[in-house]
C-alpha cells in the first residue's frame, strides 16, 4: 500500500505562544545571564580598569590595549599562539586525511586500531599532559631513553626555549589526530561510489582519483576541520598549564594562559578583558576568512 508523504512535526506549526515561551524561557534566561551578558561585558570591561575588591570600575579608554601592545610578554604569548595555530591546524588536518585514506581500505583489526587512534580524544587533557610530562623528562623520560637506545641525540624537550613549543605542538597533534581522522573518514565514506568507479573505468589511477575526485568533494569537511581546529588551537590552555606553565622564559606562554594569570592571579581584570577581546576578534576573523575562502572550492553533489 503506498503511504502518503509522511508529515513531520516540523510542519505542525501550532500557535501556542505561552507554551512556547514557557518552554524556551529557562534556556534563554540561563544563556542570557551566564553567556550572552558576560560576552558583552567582557568587551565592555576591556576599556575599564576593574578593581573588584573595592567594586570600582574606572573608564580608561584604549589604555588596556595600549599596554597590551607595549607588553613584551603578551606579544610573545600572541606570537606563540599564532605559531601553535599555524602549525597544528594544517598538520592535524593533513595527518587526519592521510590516516582516513588508509582506514578507508579493508584490513584486519581495523575497528580496534580506529579506537586506539581516537582514544586520546576522550582522555582528560590534564591527565594526558601529566603523562607526557613524564615521557618528556630529559633524563629518564621514555622519549629520550628510546633515542639513546637507538643512538640518536637526546632532546631537551620542554626544558629548552628552542624545543618547548614544538613539544607542546607534538602533544596536541597526538591528542587531536583521531578526531581529524574520524571526521575525514566519515567524509570519504559519504562520497558516492559511482563517482570513483566511473573514474576508474576511464583509466584514472588511485592518486589521480584522490586528487581529482575525493579531495575536492571533501572540501566541506576540510573547511569544518580547519575552522574547528583553529578555534580549539586559539584556546590552547590545559596542556601548557600542565606541561610548562608557559616556560621556559615565556617560550610556551599563550594568550589564554596569560589571560588566566592576569585575571585570576594578579586581578588585572580590565587588562585580561582586553586580552579576551583580542582572542575573540582573532577567532572570529580566522573563522570568517576560512569560511569565505573555502566556500569558493566547494562542490555540490
Amino acid at each position: 500500500m503506498p503511504r502518503p508523504l509522511r508529515r513531520t512535526v516540523a510542519r505542525l506549526h501550532a500557535r501556542r505562544v505561552w507554551h512556547a515561551y514557557a518552554f524556551v524561557a529557562p534556556v534563554v534566561i540561563l544563556f542570557g545571564l551566564f553567556r550572552v551578558v558576560p560576552s558583552v561585558q567582557t568587551l565592555l570591561y576591556s576599556v575599564y580598569r576593574v578593581e573588584l575588591v573595592r567594586g570600582r570600575f574606572t573608564f580608561v579608554g584604549a589604555e588596556n590595549f595600549r599596554e597590551l601592545v607595549a607588553d613584551a610578554a603578551f606579544r610573545h604569548a600572541a606570537w606563540n599562539t599564532l605559531v601553535y595555530v599555524l602549525v597544528i591546524v594544517p598538520v592535524s588536518a593533513a595527518l587526519g586525511l592521510l590516516f582516513a585514506v588508509l582506514f578507508d581500505a579493508e584490513f584486519p583489526l581495523r575497528e580496534l586500531f580506529k579506537a586506539v587512534y581516537f582514544a586520546p580524544m576522550v582522555t582528560s587533557t590534564v591527565a594526558a599532559a601529566a603523562v607526557w610530562w613524564w615521557l618528556y623528562n630529559p633524563q629518564f623520560g621514555l622519549f629520550n631513553v628510546l633515542l639513546r637506545a637507538v643512538g640518536l641525540p637526546i632532546q631537551p624537550w620542554l626544558m629548552s626555549t628552542r624545543t618547548a613549543l614544538w613539544s607542546i605542538i607534538l602533544f596536541g597533534i597526538w591528542k587531536g589526530l583521531g578526531y581529524n581522522m574520524v571526521i575525514y573518514l566519515a567524509g570519504l565514506q559519504a562520497i558516492p561510489g559511482t563517482f570513483l568507479e566511473a573514474a576508474r573505468i576511464d583509466g584514472a589511477g588511485p592518486l589521480q582519483r584522490f586528487r581529482r575526485i575525493s579531495f575536492p568533494l571533501l572540501a566541506p569537511t576540510t573547511t569544518f576541520l580547519l575552522i574547528y581546529n583553529s578555534i580549539q588551537a586559539f584556546q590552547v590552555f590545559d596542556q601548557v598549564y600542565v606541561l610548562t606553565g608557559g616556560g621556559p622564559a615565556g617560550a610556551t606562554n599563550v594568550v589564554v594562559l596569560d589571560l588566566y594569570r592576569q585575571a585570576f592571579e594578579r586581578y588585572n581584570f580590565g587588562y585580561a578583558a582586553a586580552e579576551a577581546t583580542v582572542l575573540f576578534v582573532l577567532i572570529l576573523a580566522v573563522t570568517a576568512v576560512q569560511y569565505a575562502y573555502s566556500r569558493r572550492f566547494e562542490v555540490a553533489y
Partner: protein
C-alpha cells in the same frame, strides 16, 4: 581481501603502517600504566623495562593517600550529572518549542542561543567571574555549573531530532487530551532517545574533562573536580615522583577509558556526528 598476491602485499604494507601508528598512539597509555604498576627502581631503569619485574600497587597507595580522590570523583559526578540532567530536560522542552510552535521572536531567540557557541568560556570568563563574585557563587557548585546548566548544542540537536517525528503522533495525543508537558515527556522523549543519549554522552565527556573554568572558579580543596586535582597533584614546579604521578593519572582517566573501551563504536560515532563540545 587476499584475492591476489599483489593485493595481499598491499594490505600487509597498509597493516604495518597503521599498526605502527597505533603503537605510537597507545604508547603514552601503556607507559602510564606500566610506570604506575612498576616498583620504584624499575621506573628510572635504563634500558627501559617494558614489562615490570613485578606488579605492585605501592604507587597507587601513595597517590591515594596524598589526595582525596573519592571527594574529587564525587564532585566531578555531581557537576557532570547536574549539568547533563539540566541540559537534557531544558534542551528537550526548548527543542520541542523551536520545532513545533510558531511564536514571535522565535528566530531571534534561536540564533541568540546558537551564537553562544561562537564565544568560548575562555573569552567570557573574566566578566562571568566578576558576575559570580557579586552574587556569591565563586567557589560553589553553582559557580562551576553556571555556564553549563544548558547547552546550545543540546537544544540544536534535540530540535533536529524532534522535527523528524511524525506529526500524527503529537496530534493524536492532543486529541486524546494530553497536555503539552505530558506530550513532551511521554511521547516525544522516547522517540528522540538516540539524540538524548548522544547529547548526554558528549556533555558528560566535556564536563568530566573540563579544566579551565573549574580551576578559575574553585578555591576550596573540597570542591576540586578530577582534572583540577590532577593538575595540582603534578604541581607546576616539581613532583618528580613519577610512579605516584602516573598512578594519579590512571585514577583520573581509568573509568573514562574503561567506558570508552566498552562503547567505543558508539562514542566515536556520536562525537564524529556532532563535533565535540557544546
Amino acid at each position: 581481501m587476499w584475492a591476489t598476491p599483489a593485493r595481499a602485499v598491499g594490505t600487509l604494507a597498509l597493516f604495518v603502517v597503521v599498526a605502527g601508528g597505533a603503537v605510537l598512539m597507545i604508547l603514552p597509555f601503556y607507559w602510564m600504566l606500566m610506570t604506575a604498576l612498576s616498583p620504584a627502581p624499575d621506573v628510572l631503569a635504563f634500558p627501559p623495562r617494558w614489562i615490570p619485574s613485578r606488579l605492585t600497587p605501592e604507587h597507587f597507595g601513595v597517590a591515594w593517600a596524598k589526595a582525596a580522590w573519592l571527594t574529587y570523583y564525587g564532585n566531578s559526578l555531581v557537576v557532570a550529572g547536574v549539568s547533563v540532567g539540566c541540559s537534557l530536560v531544558l534542551g528537550l522542552f526548548a527543542g520541542y518549542a523551536f520545532a513545533v510552535y510558531r511564536f514571535p521572536l522565535q528566530h531571534v531567540l534561536f540564533v541568540l542561543i546558537l551564537s553562544t557557541l561562537m564565544v568560548p568560556v575562555q573569552v567570557t570568563s573574566v566578566a562571568l567571574y566578576i558576575l559570580l563574585s557579586r552574587i556569591g557563587w565563586v567557589d560553589t557548585y553553582a559557580g562551576i555549573l553556571a555556564p553549563n546548566f544548558a547547552s546550545a548544542f543540546g537544544v540544536f540537536l534535540l530540535r533536529q531530532g524532534i522535527r523528524a517525528i511524525p506529526v500524527e503522533l503529537v496530534e493524536a495525543a492532543r486529541i486524546d487530551g494530553a497536555g503539552e508537558v505530558r506530550i513532551v515527556l511521554t511521547i516525544v522523549a522516547p522517540l528522540v532517545r538516540t539524540s538524548l543519549a548522544t547529547v548526554a554522552m558528549i556533555l558528560f565527556l566535556g564536563s568530566w574533562n573540563d579544566f579551565l573554568w573549574p580551576v578559575i572558579v574553585i578555591n576550596s580543596p573540597d570542591l576540586r573536580t578530577i582534572p583540577v586535582a590532577m593538575a595540582l597533584f603534578k604541581d607546576p614546579y616539581g613532583n618528580i615522583n613519577y610512579g605516584p604521578l602516573m598512578a594519579a593519572a590512571v585514577i583520573s582517566t581509568g573509568p573514562m577509558l574503561v567506558a570508552y573501551a566498552l562503547s567505543q563504536k558508539y562514542m566515536i560515532r556520536g562525537i564524529a556526528l556532532t563535533g565535540l563540545k557544546g
